[in-house]
Each structure stands twice: as C-alpha cells, then as structure tokens.
Symmetry: C2
Subunit: 338 residues, 2 copies
C-alpha cells in the first residue's frame, strides 16, 4: 500500500503539501509542484482513504448543507433558485480549502443530529426556516455552523440574513408615497419567525405610519410559482378597491402581473406592483418590476467565509451579518387613478 508519506518522500516535499494537492487546496501550492505531485500519485496508484482519515481525525472534511423538509415542501428546497445561488458559492469556496459538500434535506432535528455525527461532518450550513429544536440540536453537536435566513434568538449563533423587515417597510412605503391606500400583501404562508413574517411586520409598520389600520383580508397567501401568481392576479383584478400590491417574491409578483394583464388590468395604470428579490426576471417583465433588491449569492459567500473562519479557528468579528436591501424603481408603480 502506497501512503501519503511515500508520495511526499518521492516528491521531496512535506506530507502537508501532498495533502493540499490531493484535497485541491491549490492556492497553497505552485502549479508546477501540483503537476509534479499528481504525476507521482498517478504513477504509484496512490489512493487516499477518506474513510480512514475520517476515523483517524474524527472529522471528515465534509460540510453539510441542510435544508428543511416540511409537509408543504415534500421535495427539498435544493431546487429553489435562491438555494442554488448559495450552493454555487458554497461549493467553490469550500472546495478551495479542501472541503467536500454534502447536500441533505431533513425533516426532524434528530435526523440532522444522526447525519452530522455518523458522517463526522466538519461543519454545517442550515438554510431557511427551522424550528427551535433544530437550533438546539445544531448547537449541541459542537461543530462550526452558520444559519442562512433563520431568525434565532442566540447571540452565539453565526447567522447571515437580510433586512427583511426593512424590505417590507420600504416596499409598502413606496406604494403609500405614491398615494396608494388599499395595499394587498401577497406571499407564501407566513410562518412564525420566518423571513415572510418579518416582511409582513415591515408592511404593517409602513401602514401604521400612514395611520392605516391593518386589514388581514388584504393578506393573500399563495405558493411561489408563476401559475399560482397568475391565479392570484386574476382574483385581484376583480378587487377594484385594491390599487397597490406588494408581493414578497418576484416570481409571485411577475405571475400576478401576468394574471392582471390577462384580465385586462394594466400595470401601473390600474394597479401598482412591488416585488422582492430583484431576480433577473424583474428586468424582463413589461413594465419592469419595481422591487426590493437583495444579493442571494452574497449570502452564500459570507456564510461560507464565516464557517471557514470557524474551521480555521480564526476570530469572528461579527456573528450576525444582516445584508442590506434597497428599492429598485422600474416601471410597475405610479399614483392610482382618481
């Protein structure tokens, strides 16, 4: 059996250098040396055993990216356009430091615990909404972790989130400033402690500033899909009193605009619409969608940086990173007709 030590001796380098090459930590080794070491590895038919390493080191160099399965969400949220923009940057950054990515959707906290302990995961990134028992379980595992888009009441937890409440506030305020007084809130179901609830709180704060009392019958719950958005658009088309619509996701907003258009209701002449996310599609709708900008890729980058810092035992200056939002004005808002 050829060992790491044999390869290092043959190449005249340290074991660490060979390990860096094997695990693709390319930034630490010159391209010439990488090529030389790979040549020896191939000639000697060396195969590092991750299982043996994992048993010896008590950790696997696997980072778990965890999403939450719920009764509503029986697939997994891996296919979510947001998550895919995270996964992209998480994969790249962790790969560059010699880690491997395992993607898993879990239903219950004990599954997360079993997964992490049985694979000796080196770190965890949890994305989206989880219940409190998940946060407790994650903390008890004693390995580095970062939460994305989770609201957790724990100063020790490393989190990357967004100004969700402010986003809801400025979206609604923009409609109010344009003279709208009956404003619908369209979103997927509001779960306590989730990002949608925060956006709804922002919506309510803006209304309150204008002395408008909150009317739950103006909250329309719809799954995030173009088809469901269209249905909602057709429904809202018939409600003449509603002149402004704030949708908590661009996909939903775009669907609503299509549904309104099918019902011969014009945006922004008859109704104004504001979205959330600033996906590329908000540039494609006609008129362009006025929306709240957020940088989803950046969430993944910052979360991974925070995780890698923990893995390198470097200090973390700010454990709770909240990314800013801002309003992007396009063409979907104007004052209502008198």
């Amino acid at each position: 059996m050829v060992t790491l030590k044999d390869i290092a001796a043959e190449a005249g380098v340290s074991i660490t250098t060979v390990s860096n090459v094997v695990h693709n930590r390319k930034s630490r080794v010159s391209p010439e040396l990488v090529a030389k070491i790979w040549k020896i590895i191939e000639r000697e038919h060396y195969v590092p055993s991750m299982s043996a390493r994992s048993l010896a080191n008590d950790q696997s160099c696997i980072i778990g990216v965890i999403t939450h399965l719920t009764p509503q969400n029986t697939g997994s949220t891996v296919g979510d356009p947001f998550l895919s923009s995270f996964v992209d940057s998480i994969e790249k950054q962790t790969r560059d430091e010699g880690y491997y990515l395992m993607i898993r959707a879990v239903e219950e906290a004990k599954e997360l615990s079993a997964l992490s302990r049985s694979w000796r995961l080196s770190g965890l990134i949890l994305t989206g909404m989880f219940q409190d028992d998940f946060f407790r379980t994650t903390k008890e595992l004693g390995i580095p972790y970062v939460l994305i888009d989770s609201y957790v009441d724990d100063p020790d937890a490393c989190c990357v989130g967004l100004e969700d409440e402010k986003g809801g506030y400025i979206a609604t305020k923009h409609l109010l400033e344009n003279g709208h007084r009956v404003i619908a809130f369209a979103s997927p179901s509001v779960r306590p402690g989730g990002v949608i609830e925060k956006r709804l709180i922002g919506y309510r704060r803006a209304l309150a500033e204008y002395g408008i009392s909150y009317d739950p019958s103006l909250v329309f719950t719809q799954e995030i899909s173009v088809e469901e958005g269209k249905q909602l658009g057709r429904l809202l088309a018939a409600k003449k009193e509603i002149t402004g619509i704030f949708a908590s996701a661009d996909i939903l907003a775009a669907g609503i605009m299509a549904g309104l258009s099918e019902s011969d209701v014009s945006v922004p002449q008859d109704k104004s619409v504001v979205g959330f996310d600033d996906l590329y599609l908000s540039q494609l709708t006609i008129p362009g969608l006025t929306t709240i900008h957020q940088d989803a890729g950046q969430k993944g980058i910052l979360a991974t940086e925070m995780l890698l810092k923990q893995l390198r035992r470097e200090p973390i200056a700010e454990k709770n990173i909240i990314l800013p939002v801002h309003l992007v004005k396009r063409g979907s808002v104007q004052p209502p007709k008198r």
Copy 2:
C-alpha cells in the same frame, strides 16, 4: 460502544431494519417501527460510523454529482437553474434509498478519479459537457454512473439527454414556415460534442431544407445572461436584414427581446424570436416567448432511476434515454413585414 446489533436486539428486529431506519429508507419500515427504533437509538446514544462502514463495505453510499469546471466557467455550474432542478430530484430519490449526495465541480479527469476512489463513491452522475478522457476515467472506475446532457460514443454508457438536434430544427423550421429567410442563431460558445452544437446542426438542417446556405456571420455567441442578451438585442436591432432569431436558451432570448425593445424594435412585428427550454420566464415576457419545451426535472429523475437500478443490480432496458422536445407557440413569431 453501542452497535447496530445491540439496537436490533433491543428492538427485536433485524440489523437490516435498523440500518433502513438509520439511513432513512423509510418506505421499507412502518412509521410505528421507525419511531420505536429511533427512541432506542436516542436512549442508547447510538451513532453509526459511516467511515467504519465505508472501510468495511468498500463503498460509502455517497453519490457524487459532478459538474465540469472550465476556463469559461470558473465558478461551478451548480448554480445553473437547470442543474438545480436536477439536484432537487436527485437528492430526494437517492435519500429515499439511503444514499447521500456529494456535489463537486472538477476541472480534470484525474480529480474525478481521485474523488471517486478516495471517497469510495457508490455512484456518479455527471452533468453537462465533458471531454472524452472524463468518460474513459469514469468507466474505468467500475462503479455505476449516468451522464446527463453528454454526447458520448459508447453503447455501454447510461445517458439521459434531449432531442437537441430536433429542437434546433423545429425552432428554425417554425421561423422558416412563417416566411423568415435571414435567421440569426444566438447561443453560448459552441463546443464540439455539446448540446449547443447539436442545436446548431438542427438549425443548419432546417435552413438546408429551404435551400438556404449556412452563413457563419449569423451565429452570435453570447454568455447566457439577461445582460449579455440585452447587448446582443441592441446589436441585432441595427441589422435590418435579420428578421428571425433563434436563441438556444430562454434567458438569452428574453434578454434579446428586452434589448430589441430598448432599441424600439418590436417583437413580433419587426423581428420574431424563438427560445429554447420553456422556463417559466417564457410565459412572463410580453409577448410570451415561443420556445422549445424540455423537462429538466425529468432528466434528473430518469438519471437517478437509472443509477439506482444499477446500484440494485437490476437490468436496464434502455441505456440511452433521449427526452422529447416540442414547440410551444406563444406570441413572439409572425411573418416578416413585406
């Protein structure tokens, strides 16, 4: 140390049953038994060691989902909207059979080989374009594998692909039938053996049927993004002789439409556009985008089924699955002005 055997004895079930519960193969065990076994696992603090199992069984139950890093694609294609629709279904199906998903972007075939051997991967799914040495390497590994969207000249290889050539053909033919004679082909760079080359071959076949000779100056290469599409749209707006545009991706087509619109060129009055993919955004553009429909999620489902069949040592009736395409007519094509 508590072992699998201890848990099985305590629960009065077989080791296989406990293993099914631990690895989440829920369909094979009743919910009551699952709950009972989890209770014992938690009480006894049992932690299965995947590393030890991997060393003992010479395989890890990890499925590698591999994308190809190229100089043009320095991130990874994990964030690609297509790949994310695959990953979603791959994760769900493999999880239900007790496998775990590792996602990795590789640059060279030897990295793939090292990854697979060092982790003792149970199977591989390769997505997108790879060079021949990747296919050779993959085959030599001797583990089950499936290729998605790869054109490989090997009857033994399990592949899931699309009628790419036919898609290019029917898109172009639709423009020709509507009276267009100068038709641009817009796509990311054409790599030999890739899906784009096949769509280009289809475009050329349709032109040839109408006695139109192929003009390379009508091929416009552009990265797939709304921004780049818009630039191309503005460029095409000035080319009066071009009345039809076939874009090999909807995102590009939508960007082109936005760029044309900015330049006061109307679709379909001044120029007609056909896309490819039938993403949800093709329903959102105004006019709706006429496009070639494909089912990306289905590619992931079928590829995973084929991989799981190999892992279960079941026979595979058809190793080369080609998914059908069809034209979806919306509003972006009409005969050119005289």
